[in-house]
Amino acid sequence: MKRHSEKIQWRPTLTGGLVFAIVITNLLLAVSSPSNSNFALFFTFSLCGVCLISLWLTSRNIRDLQVSIHGESISYSGQVLHFTLNIKNIASHASPSLILGQHRKAHNHFELGPNVQKTLSITLPAQQRGRYTLEDLWLSTDYPLGIFQAKLPVNVKAVAWQLVKVSKDDTAILNDKTVNHDEDIDTLREYQAGDGYKTIHWKSYAKHQKLITRHASSNNESETRITIRWKDTQGSTEQRIQTLSALIAQAEQKKLNYSLELEEQKQPHASGTSHYIRCLKLLSCYRTPEQMIASGFIRGKE
């Protein structure tokens, strides 16, 4: 959980501005009217009093809120992006109506009771492959009277991935040209990012004081180890990425043990859904420029 470090920003709403103008005008007229204007003063001060209390209630509604990122959401090309956040009201009394927004746009209008947590997502249109970060998020409320808007900048960055989508019609086939069948390798090797903790060989760790992981031998025919390489593909960058994605998908479908080698990056051998997603993320980020799509909506930033 991240703490809010920003201060609450206050702005009058249009309704608030009008009410303020009415109150000031009425006060000037009532206080200097030649007739007995007690009723007018009472009316004016009632509006004043209610507005001030509303200001306090609005502040109370937004103070005890906690916002955290609800993981990194994943979508495939052509699908909308979802940025998911957890919002929790730890106050036992405030029951605010809130708006979750980004930059100048409001996205979600929701209510949050006392001690209630909600998961909200901001949906944005489909983009090119890559990793997307959403900044400049805020929560605001003008409940109950709508006279003042309290805006609390949320100091978290929501992340979503747009992965390359592999269609069933994709023609990429695992063959000798695109994959290399690995030679025999040792059953023990040094730990690499992505290795599961269950594969750690603790005896070797005790002996060498470094993490050694245990892997099945290539003699086991049920686990064919293949390496999918960038240099084995042809065409434009996007075509090659599409091809590699298709190969990864096929390898995953056949439950093979595979690795991905790009020009400068490598994903070591493994299998399973997590490995599959890691490979696709690597491909999605490959050669993507860091660019700002819209204010606070950034592509390719880690």
């Binding site: 009532a30 007739s35 009316f43």
Partner: protein, 690 residues
């Protein structure tokens, strides 16, 4: 961007408004329109009804039809209102505003339309209040509706019978009430208008509107023409010292020839004054607006009068460069070529700059008829007490609980028994003498001083009163002729007893007055005595609450504010000092509010146990116990128990509960809310025990 627009609050689509909210907004608009509709009346109500129906069924009408109907309705309303009022009359403009507000909902943008309607309603309500529409039920209904409407418009999922909605409104009302009372009681009441343009324009606008609110004063078309034709300004004033100057002149003012005998009592009425300021009386500035609108007598009273009750006479007036036309008190109706105000004044449309003759008839003395009740504006003006006369005010307040007749009699008795004398500027500087000086030190003055004092005393006692000038008596000659000279200039008072204006001549109550023109039969005020039992019976009917409510809401003014300030030890504060103090207080309050509302959130923990622990730490920190972030709850419990031995058991108990909540398997059965409430209720001494 200074303000946040409604679209900033919601997504791309138009913000939703519930049916409940819409109903509340329309009820608020109805309530805001009510005084205007009852004042305008007639076909206009039907037009508003049509506008409301069009708004409700606009969805089934095509845009062309809808726009056509809207234009037709606005044109009809304009035509109708123009025939009823001036183009710049408040009723004309506000009437159109109300119609447009009722048509607004047919625009088809529910949220924006509802917000606009609500804002228009608040403006109308504010105008109504400034115009002096004094009805407590109306005021509180308006406040409740405005509040609930604002909350409901701002909440898309509002259910007006839900616990949340009711709780929000009740919280807002209950919490704002002390603020409202403080603002109301201590906000400085400025003695006069702030700007000249305000007195001339804005206040006249509201005064006109206030008169129009009274349906009986709705102007008929016939009189409207004369109103328009004679709308010249008459800002007449009368300095009290002028009366003394007049009394030294024997110059003839006018001559009257009576038909059928001279009445016993002759009071020639000239000007009626309402506002007293710095030794000078002022006429109502907006009197001309109600001129000819209403006869000053009720028609059913007049129908019972026969010729034997009337005095008929012909007047020959010398030029005097004023608008006044002199006539006997209780003159009936306007004479040809003149105006007759509800104040019983005869007014010439032009300044009387050459000899002027006219015939008039008046009621004989003793014929009692009921006057038409004064308007709210007139009552307010007749109740207005000037600043800077604390002694006069105190004396008047002493008769506050009496009825009007008893109060009047008690003031006359005061003049009669407390050594007051009649004198024309002898032994004192009249131009510098205030009414306080007159009542408490000098006790000697002319009719103007007595009448002025009496009027202000009556006002302080809570009864409407006004100051009347003219002439009393006259030199009788042959052929039923009476000649009136400037020496006979006189002033007297009138107070409203609930049925009619009662003439009182306080000068007659003084012993040894200068009776240079004695009416043959003046009213014998000595016969009036204060009936204490009657006073008690009257006052017993008012409960303490009623009286406090009445004094607080109806009659609270500068003097009462000063009394209140004195009672709490701020007696020497002037209005200006109070204003500066209020502004400084408002600035400090705003600064404090800005600071406190912008602070970061209080707690950052996610689990309930930690939140409770942090709350306990914060609470004890306020009482002086420092927070050590590396300290565990057990150590903290021991330290806190030593610091606050009187609460040792409670602190231990709270810490145990927090530990169970956080670490124990049975923690799920412990309610964090209960622990937090227990912490909240913890009462600690300010200093830590050593």
């Amino acid at each position: 961007m200074l303000f946040v627009s409604p679209n900033d609050f919601s997504s791309n689509t138009e913000r939703y408004i519930s049916k409940s909210a819409l109903c509340l907004v329309l009820i608020t608009l109805s309530l805001a329109s009510l005084p205007y509709l009852s004042a305008i009346n007639g076909y206009f109500v039907a037009l508003i009804g049509a506008a409301a129906i069009i708004s409700l069924i606009h969805a089934i009408l095509s845009k062309t039809v809808l726009n056509t109907i809207r234009v037709v309705l606005i044109l009809c309303a304009t035509w109708y209102l123009y025939n009823q009022y001036d183009l710049y009359h408040p009723m004309f403009i506000n009437g159109l505003v109300i119609l447009i507000a009722w048509l607004k909902y047919s625009d088809g943008r529910p949220y924006q339309d509802s917000t606009s309607i609500l804002m228009i309603s608040i403006v109308l309500l504010a105008q109504t209040m400034v115009s002096g529409f004094q009805n407590p039920i109306y005021l509180f209904s308006c406040l409740a509706l405005v509040l609930t409407s604002l909350v409901s418009v701002n909440d898309e999922n509002v259910k007006i019978l839900s616990k949340r909605f009711i709780a929000t409104n009740v919280t807002l009302l209950a919490m704002s009430l002390p603020l409202v009372v403080i603002f109301y009681l201590f906000f400085p009441r400025l003695p006069g208008t702030l700007f000249d343009w305000q007195a001339e324009g804005i206040n006249n606008w509201f005064a006109t509107q206030a008169e129009a609110f009274d349906t009986r004063e709705a102007m008929d078309v016939q009189h409207q023409a004369s109103h328009k034709a004679t709308g010249s300004a008459l800002g007449e004033t009368l300095n009290l010292s002028k009366l003394s100057e007049l009394a030294t002149s024997n110059k003839k003012v006018f001559e009257a020839q009576f038909i059928g005998g001279i009445p016993e009592e002759l009071y020639w009425r000239a000007g009626v004054f309402w506002k007293y300021q710095q030794r000078t009386w002022h006429q109502r500035k907006n009197w001309k607006k109600s001129t000819m609108a209403t006869a000053p007598f009720q028609l059913d009273s007049l129908q019972a009068i026969d010729d034997s009750s009337l005095v008929q006479y012909n007047m020959q007036l010398k030029p005097h460069s004023k608008h006044w036309l002199y006539a006997l008190d209780n003159t009936l109706g306007p004479i040809k070529g003149s105006l007759f105000t509800p104040e019983n004044q005869l007014i010439s449309p032009k300044i009387v700059s050459k000899a002027y003759s006219y015939s008039a008839s008046a009621l004989k003395t003793g014929v009692v008829i009921n006057n038409v009740a004064p308007t709210r504006t007139e009552i307010k003006q007749a109740m207005r007490f000037p600043k800077g006369l604390p002694f006069t005010y105190s004396l008047g307040r002493s008769a506050r609980k009496k009825n009007a007749e008893v109060a009047a009699a008690s003031f006359l008795m005061h003049f009669q028994t407390q050594g007051y004398q009649y004198s024309l500027n002898e032994g004192f500087d009249e131009s510098q003498m205030t009414l306080d000086d007159f009542l408490y030190d000098v006790r000697s003055g002319q009719c103007g001083h007595y009448a002025s004092s009496f009027v202000l005393l009556m006002r302080a006692a809570g009864f409407p009163a006004r100051f009347v000038t003219g002439f009393r008596g006259g030199h009788r000659t042959d052929n039923n002729r009476v000649i009136v000279t400037q020496k006979m200039a006189h002033a007297w008072a009138e107070y409203w007893n609930g049925e009619r204006w009662i003439r009182v001549d306080p000068t007659l109550a003084i012993k040894g007055q200068n009776l240079h023109s004695l009416p043959t039969n003046g009213t014998d005020y000595n016969e009036l005595t204060i009936d204490e039992s009657n006073v008690e019976a009257k006052t017993a009917t008012l409960s303490a609450f009623d009286e406090a409510f009445e004094m607080g809401l109806y009659y609270y003014n500068t003097q009462l504010q000063q009394q209140l300030l004195q009672s709490i030890g701020f007696g020497k504060l002037s209005a200006l000092s109070l204003l500066i103090l209020c502004l400084a207080g408002a600035f400090l309050f705003w600064w404090f509010l800005g600071k406190s509302l912008s602070v970061k959130q209080a707690f950052s923990a996610t689990d309930k146990g930690l939140i409770c622990f942090q709350q306990l730490q914060y609470k004890l920190h306020l009482s002086g116990l420092t927070i050590n972030h590396s300290e565990g709850i057990i150590a903290y419990s021991e330290r806190a128990s030593q610091a606050f031995p009187e609460q040792q058991t409670k602190i231990h108990s709270i810490c145990q509960q927090i530990m169970q909540l956080r670490y124990s398997k049975q923690g799920n059965h412990i309610n964090a809310k209960t622990i937090r409430q227990t912490i909240k209720k913890l009462r600690l001494s300010k200093t830590i025990a050593k």
